[in-house]
């Protein structure tokens, strides 16, 4: 990883794939994940996404293990909340508080949904350069000047990160104990104090960056050339068709198979 950017150049299938194909695949996965809370369908979807990233982009769970450490407690919290607020038969009773079976399944389902969508975006960010995203949007019909801004946003993030780091360091060397405090409230106070100068610095920088862009012909009206172009190839079509087939299979699974852990299942 490089700063705020996740993108890592590479030569895997997903690195070479057209960004439009990847965006289409993500949309299909998102729609699937958001239209069901069935735990078996979401587990199957997540498994296919994990397997797909490993095979097509050599992104193994080890590379997002740290993110998993953050997301697992979130899933557990969601599950607990749903177990407490949902009705239905109890799965277990702890200290007089009954945990709803339906709530547990719903919480796990929502957690799996977040997980599937999260690693999908992670895989996309890791294999797609910001300029490819801009090119894809341009090819999809968005004027280049607007499409480019998506790519530029990724360039602006490390600038903000540097600015924040510099300000925090400046505060620390002038004796502010809050900047290095582990106490979340004190640390938060330091961040709030840093926000105004960071905003002012960003405004100044954005004006200078706008000037640099202008000096390099950003607003020229004439036709533009594209040094790097992506064409939608057979492999990209296979990716989209593959994801659509997966969606069809999971929809069949949802409609044809009874939900697990329910009466009569």
């Amino acid at each position: 990883m490089s700063g705020t950017l996740l993108y890592q150049p590479g030569h895997t299938f997903l690195h070479r794939a057209d960004a439009r194909a990847k965006i289409a695949a993500i949309i299909v996965v998102l729609v699937l994940a958001l239209t069901t809370t069935r735990i078996d369908v979401l587990v199957a979807l997540t498994a296919v996404v994990v397997l797909g990233l490993a095979v097509l982009a050599r992104i193994t769970p080890v590379s997002y293990a740290r993110a998993l450490l953050l997301i697992v407690p979130l899933i557990l919290l969601l599950t607990l909340l749903q177990a407490l607020v949902q009705g239905g038969p109890a799965l277990a009773t702890v200290g007089g508080v009954s945990l709803s079976q339906e709530g547990v399944l719903l919480g796990l389902g929502i957690g799996m949904r977040l997980f599937a969508m999260g690693i999908c975006f992670y895989g996309f960010s890791l294999t797609t350069s910001p300029s490819d995203i801009a090119l894809a949007l341009h090819k999809a019909g968005l004027p280049y000047k607007f499409a480019y801004l998506t790519s530029f946003a990724f360039r602006f993030l490390p600038l903000l990160q540097d600015e924040a780091r510099t300000l925090l360091t400046a505060m620390a060397v002038r004796g502010s104990a809050e900047t290095s405090s582990r106490h979340p409230i004190r640390r938060g106070r330091a961040i709030v104090r840093m926000l105004f100068p960071m905003l002012a610095g960003s405004m100044k920088r954005s004006s200078e960056i706008a000037l640099s862009m202008e000096l390099r012909g950003y607003s020229l009206p004439g036709p533009r050339t594209f040094y790097r172009t992506h064409s939608f190839r057979t492999g990209d079509a296979f990716l989209v068709v593959g994801v659509l087939l997966l969606a069809a299979a999971l929809l069949v699974m949802q409609w044809q198979l009874p939900a697990p852990f329910t009466e009569g299942a």
Binding site: G3, P9, S129, R155, L159, E208, R216, L220
Partner: protein, 288 residues
């Protein structure tokens, strides 16, 4: 006589709220293929001058009032349609490289300006190869721009302006973050461009480098041109803000009667002069 690439007369600038002019009746000319080094202490108006020559003042900086005339190849600057049109002839490298890197990867950064101008891809590739050779950045092409060192960023920024093939290049402290070898590399590249007919105006604090590489120097102080001429004339005059150490030493030696050769502007020149002086059978040094 060669027609000037850039001609400035009566140029004055005052920023809103400032107690004095940032530029005060500045006038000079630079001819095609010339390297004009601009010297001066902080606040002398060097960067303001660069911004005027590139059209940034008054087109982008609204808090600066400007008067005077600037002509680029005989065409008054106000006649250009906008900054983008001016930059077809005049390329500006600003002081801070960070704000000039607007893409995430170095290769994208170098080609982006050319793409905006609609330059055909084979020509983009040719210029890209040339930029890599001139500025020694071939190994950086697939790196993230934000992850480069300060010196690498500067070389990429200069190269990205070079890729636009302007006939005039304005470089505002292009080597401030470079080590001696990197500085030498950029200065050599500037000389190659000048030999090809590009007019280069370069603001630098590294006076030793300018003394050797510039064709003429322009010394500024408090917004005014104090002196303009060959490096030797300017640096030996009273208007020079500073002098290369080697020149200072040679002048002191001359005062004491130990240096009778030409006053050098660089250490290699000093060594060569010293050698010729010590080999001279008439020299006192050989008799002692």
């Amino acid at each position: 006589m060669t027609a000037p690439a850039i001609a400035v007369s009566g140029l004055s600038v005052r920023y809103d709220g400032a107690d004095r002019r940032a530029l005060d009746e500045v006038a000079f000319e630079a001819v095609p293929g010339e390297i004009l080094g601009i010297l001066g202490p902080t606040g002398a108006g060097k960067s303001t001058l660069m911004q005027c020559l590139s059209g940034v003042i008054p087109r982008h900086e609204e808090d600066a009032a400007m008067r005077g005339d600037i002509e680029v190849f005989g065409r008054p600057l106000p006649d250009f349609a906008g900054l983008s049109e001016i930059t077809e002839s005049v390329g500006l490298v600003m002081q801070d490289p960070e704000v000039q890197l607007v893409n995430t990867m170095v290769r994208e950064e170098l080609v982006w300006g050319m793409e905006n101008r609609g330059i055909p891809v084979p020509e983009i590739e040719r210029r890209l190869r040339r930029a890599c050779d001139l500025f020694d950045i071939g190994g950086l092409l697939d790196r993230f721009t934000h992850a480069l060192s300060g010196g690498e960023k500067q070389r990429v920024v200069v190269a990205s302006v070079f890729c636009l093939s302007p006939r005039i290049m304005l470089l505002d402290e292009p080597t401030s973050e470079l080590d001696p070898a990197g500085t030498e590399g950029v200065m050599d590249a500037i000389r190659v461009l000048a030999d090809e007919g590009v007019t280069v105006l370069v603001v630098e604090h590294k006076i030793e480098e300018l003394a050797v590489h510039a064709d003429r120097l322009l010394a500024m102080r408090r917004g005014r041109v104090e002196a303009i001429g060959t490096p030797r004339d300017v640096l030996m005059g009273s208007a020079a803000p500073d002098r290369p150490q080697v020149l200072d030493i040679a002048l002191r030696l001359r005062e004491r009667g130990h240096w009778d050769g030409e006053v050098p502007l660089s250490v290699p020149a000093a060594a060569a002069t010293w050698q010729s002086m010590t080999n001279d059978p008439r020299s006192d040094r050989n008799r002692s």
